[in-house]
């Protein structure tokens, strides 16, 4: 394992120190328990939006803290959900008196830890759980679908609305609407190495890829021979389109995400194919996001996320945002 670190057990804390130093105009970091929060928190009268999850997915979530997006993010150990006291500390730091929305990705660990925090919390705390990964078959008898790329879109839109003055009920309703309209699917070309493990989380041969990969180095659903981009992109897109389903005339936001190690030259190439396939089906791409936003450390691979948008979602997607990773309009 070659990484730019000192000690696996201090990676997260040292990285947070660098984040704080780099973006003091946008965010602050507190430790033990670790919370990344808006530099100007709490914003009185604003619904506070909090998320969090295991580290190693950067810029999600810490890089999404700031005006128009998250009020706070709770970073767990690498690929490990944060603990309830982090979430409680975050809520205390950013609660502006208008209620708190917790955005939780659907993993048992995340759900249980946020749930525990919500039980202890004072004030009006709501929780939404995002589960946009179509690679996992949904069922009442399993842990259900995972929360993946759609999380960034959800956090942007909901964060924009909260900044724009939505009350807690409205923010929660908007969040549930976005969750109902967003679907994702990913692929890994290589595995990643968790610092405290020191070895790759799985092994792919030189000509193998893993379709339906999770974002924690969990193996996916299917290991297949590597294929050209013209086949790979539809292999991700088709299951997404069938699932919601997305249909001719639908307006969408297309998010082409790198798992971290896939360079932009490949990502834009894949994005171009996805745009073409959607155009062929009469699906109208109205907004796009391309880049490494929901990553798995250095994993090579990508995911596609499609959100069926309406005017309300577009309005808050377009609203000003100022975070380490996403910034426009300000």
């Amino acid at each position: 394992m070659k990484k730019i670190i000192n000690d696996p057990s201090t990676v997260v804390a040292e990285s947070l120190a660098g984040l704080a130093a780099a973006h003091a105009d946008v965010l602050k970091v507190r430790t033990e328990p670790a919370v990344i929060y808006r530099a100007d928190a709490p914003v009185t009268g604003k619904v506070a939006v909090i998320s969090g999850g295991g580290s190693g997915h950067e810029p999600m979530h810490g890089g999404l803290v700031g005006l128009g997006m998250l009020d706070a993010a709770c970073p767990g150990a690498v690929f490990t959900s944060p603990t309830p006291d982090q979430v409680q500390a975050a809520a205390e730091l950013v609660d502006g008196g208008a209620g708190v929305l917790l955005i939780v990705k659907n993993y048992t660990g995340d759900v249980l830890n946020f749930e525990t925090a919500a039980e202890f919390a004072e004030g009006d705390v709501r929780t939404v759980v995002i589960d946009d990964d179509v690679a996992v078959k949904d069922s009442l008898y399993t842990a259900g679908r995972r929360g993946v790329g759609g999380t960034v879109l959800l956090e942007k839109i909901v964060g924009g609305a909260a900044e724009g003055g939505y009350g807690l009920d409205e923010v929660e309703a908007l969040a549930r609407k976005v969750i109902s309209q967003v679907r994702s699917m990913g692929v890994a070309l290589t595995a990643c190495t968790v610092p405290h493990v020191g070895e790759p989380s799985f092994v792919l041969a030189d000509d193998e890829i893993e379709i339906g990969i999770g974002i924690h180095g969990e193996p996916g659903r299917q290991r297949v021979p590597h294929m050209p981009a013209d086949q790979l992109v539809p292999a991700l897109l088709e299951p997404i389109l069938e699932d919601l389903p997305f249909q001719s005339g639908d307006r969408v936001l297309l998010f082409t995400n790198s798992m971290g190690g896939t360079p932009l030259i490949e990502l834009y190439l894949a994005h171009g194919i996805a745009e073409r396939l959607l155009a062929e089906r009469g699906i109208v791409v109205q907004r796009r996001l391309v880049g490494p936003y929901v990553t798995s450390l250095e994993m090579q691979g990508m995911s596609l996320t499609l959100l069926k948008v309406d005017d309300e979602m577009l309005r808050w997607w377009d609203a000003p945002v100022r975070t380490a990773a996403l910034r426009w309009g300000v």
Binding site: F79, T80, S81, T83, T108, L112, T116, A143, V194, E218
Partner: protein, 208 residues
């Protein structure tokens, strides 16, 4: 060998558990790499290291120790195992009330309460390939043992947990991260079931 167990005994047992977790960290990490995300051993190690650092002021009663363990695990482990083991120790703490010495009977009650807590939080059923598949048989064995001896109760529990963990190997996971693998989760032991078996074995060893 013992019919009762004081606060010191509980503290000693927890130290034994912490040592076991440390010793088996890599094994648990590797089990979790197979069908999860490779952090289970590290998570528990981080949690029990934090527990150890607090055991010099463990409190007055067995319940206080168990509660300290619970809150420390909840605030340091994270992942699925943090709240689940935290709840288990919290419910066990409540179950033993203000007793200053635990009896075999109260230990059986504590184990049952822990199981109920894990199920209430995690909603797993037997056969879902989770820690419940180790803890469930352990509770049943403890209840059936009918012994007044703590060591006997705990060693029956540990043995059943061990078998339960082994029996998770052919199962297809229906809860937790391993469930994403569907059929591919079969053929691997569940890391949480394994850690439950290790914990109970450590308790049994501490009692004997």
């Amino acid at each position: 060998m013992a019919a009762s167990c004081t606060v010191d005994g509980v503290v000693a047992a927890i130290r034994k558990v912490a040592a076991t977790v440390e010793e088996h960290r890599d094994e648990l990490v590797n089990l979790d790499r197979e069908i999860g995300d490779g952090d289970h051993g590290e998570n528990l190690k981080r949690g029990f290291t934090a527990v150890l650092s607090k055991l010099d002021n463990p409190g007055e009663t067995p319940a206080a120790v168990l509660k300290l363990v619970a809150s420390t695990l909840i605030s340091t482990v994270g992942g699925a195992a943090g709240p689940l083991y935290g709840t288990a120790f919290l419910r066990a703490s409540s179950a033993v009330g203000q007793e200053t010495e635990l009896t075999a009977e109260s230990i059986v009650a504590a184990l049952g309460a822990a199981l109920n807590g894990v199920v209430a939080r995690g909603k797993a059923e037997p056969g879902d390939k989770t820690m419940v598949d180790a803890l469930g048989p352990a509770v049943a064995a403890a209840q059936e043992s009918g012994s007044g001896d703590i060591a006997a109760v705990l060693s029956a529990a540990a043995e059943a947990a061990d078998k339960g963990a082994q029996d998770t190997i052919p199962l297809v996971a229906r809860k937790g991260r391993a469930s994403y693998l569907g059929e591919r989760s079969a053929g691997h032991m569940d890391p949480g079931a394994r850690s439950t078996a290790l914990l109970l074995r450590a308790f049994a060893d501490a009692a004997s």
